[in-house]
Symmetry: C2
Subunit: 315 residues, 2 copies
């Protein structure tokens, strides 16, 4: 299997610079020793890093395919990422969303001009695959794709540029696209740094998989228990191969630790994180004894939290 | 009266780069025409732009005075800015705070190693002035100081660098240090851009003062009505002279508009703003008809909002 390399990530950075905010590294306030920095991908226009991979995937299509348009299925940030990227290219986008997706996400996706088709979540993939063939649209996968992985890797490239002597990078793991891309970039540019993946305990399939040395499959119902709705997916063969080769370890965090980290990010760093985006800060705050010491970057992957959940957590 | 010039702001940028986060310009989500960008100074370590001016003022002291230490009086972000800057220089700092200041601000100021002295707010200035003489400490004023104005001006310098064809810059006005510095930089580097000050209606002394052509004095009790606790001060002769020369206009916003802007910033941009930091977004969202058209930057000056007020507003 061919893995993504640093050259792919660098090429992605050239393309992605056009739409992605160059997010700064933020020293975490109330950390007098200056050991923790946040990489706030919640500040992207769509509220999450996903725009990097989606835009890169669309940018690398040949002109003719791109003109015909793209399709994706997602209930989450990938939907908005594909819709927004297609809007920036001025091409058609169809997004298949589950009919129980939050109204606010459906509306945001439509606001970029995408055609949204709502179907029962069990028909999600099938409807999208059929439509792709019928309308000759190109499927943009959320993580199982070299161009998507390379695009997400630009987060790692920026970390390496801004803090070349970084010791530890904490990255959320779900389908593994972000973790794979970041690990490729960091390991190439900062070889002495360690890249640690973070998962909720309740969706700890990758931690288990890396321990036993192969992809493991957790029942969907189990993974659905975590409030970190963006971390319920599992790696593909392609992303898992990257994680096996490049990750130095995994940390799992509890639901209470995720909630506390959301509060700390809001009150101390003035950043609104979604649960999936807060797991890395949770790992730093509550699992210091399991982590290597030194200059640490926590990737805050997104901020699209349900407004009601946010107020509940902050109260 | 000698005004601050672009060279002063440029010199301040050299110094301030060491402690201030280089905040990015963030396209405001849900603004498909891409006409509004946010400058999120809430992401500074102390949660507000104030660290720029305080650090620059301390950096420009001669070595001997600096070694003796600094003093400031403030209930707000200036207290933390001076404490944090002194900590970075490794010099003593005394901060005189009102004895009704929020616990969280007193604790934050102490966390940087400053000596905090709590006195009734009416004795604030007097106690600080007396201590400055007695202990031979240098007073760092919150805005009535050329080095402070030049430091705050680095916000404008960065805007001009990142968006050279900006048409409108919206800046909060209280004591006028930020507005003065930003206007100096923008008018020098982007001469066709307009710089518009924003105040709460309930503390609209500067809007009135610029209309009648001289400093006006509003009773403290009147200015204290606004929830924008950082915008209750009034310009000094020095800052007012800059505003008269460089500002293109003023907008005043209502308390409800400020509250709505805090909600919009949280839910759409994933940023926590304090009321004073949200007035510029409020001006953009609710006073479009009073504003020049074009590429607009709203300076989000700080994020230090009372946690209870925040949850009340988001519910």
């Amino acid at each position: 299997m061919e893995l993504v390399g640093l050259a792919d990530v660098r090429a992605a950075a050239e393309r992605v610079g056009e739409v992605a905010v160059r997010t700064p590294l933020l020293p975490f306030p109330g950390d007098p020793d200056r050991r923790l920095w946040l990489k706030p991908e919640s500040l992207q226009v769509i509220g999450a890093f996903k725009v990097r991979g989606a835009f890169n995937a669309i940018a690398t299509l040949d002109d003719e395919r791109r003109r015909r348009g793209v399709i994706a299925y997602s209930s989450g940030n990938h939907a908005q990422a594909v819709a927004y990227s297609a809007h920036r290219f001025g091409i058609p986008a169809v997004i298949v969303m589950p009919d129980n997706a939050p109204r606010v996400k459906v509306d945001a996706t439509r606001s970029y001009g995408a055609e949204v088709i709502e179907v029962p979540i069990s028909d999600h993939a099938e409807v999208a695959e059929a439509l792709a063939v019928k309308r000759r649209l190109t499927m943009i996968p959320p993580y199982d794709d070299a161009a998507v992985i390379a695009g997400q890797g630009t987060v790692g490239l920026e970390i390496a540029q801004d803090l070349p002597d970084v010791d530890v990078v904490l990255v959320p793991v779900s389908g593994g696209g972000l973790a794979a891309g970041v690990a490729v970039a960091i390991k190439a540019l900062c070889p002495s740094a360690q890249v640690i993946g973070v998962e909720p305990e309740l969706a700890g399939d990758t931690a288990e998989g890396l321990r036993v040395g192969r992809l493991v499959d957790w029942p969907v119902a189990d993974r659905a228990r975590t409030i970190a709705d963006g971390l319920r997916a599992q790696p593909s063969e392609l992303t898992f191969a990257h994680l096996q080769k490049y990750l130095d370890g995994m940390i799992t965090v509890t639901e209470d630790e995720i909630r506390s980290a959301i509060r700390a990010l809001a009150h101390q760093a003035h950043l609104i994180a979604e649960p999936s985006g807060a797991v890395t800060t949770a790992a730093y705050l509550f699992h210091a004894h399991e982590l290597p010491r030194g200059r640490t970057v926590a990737i805050l992957s997104g901020g699209n939290i349900d407004p009601h959940l946010l107020t509940t957590l902050l109260t």
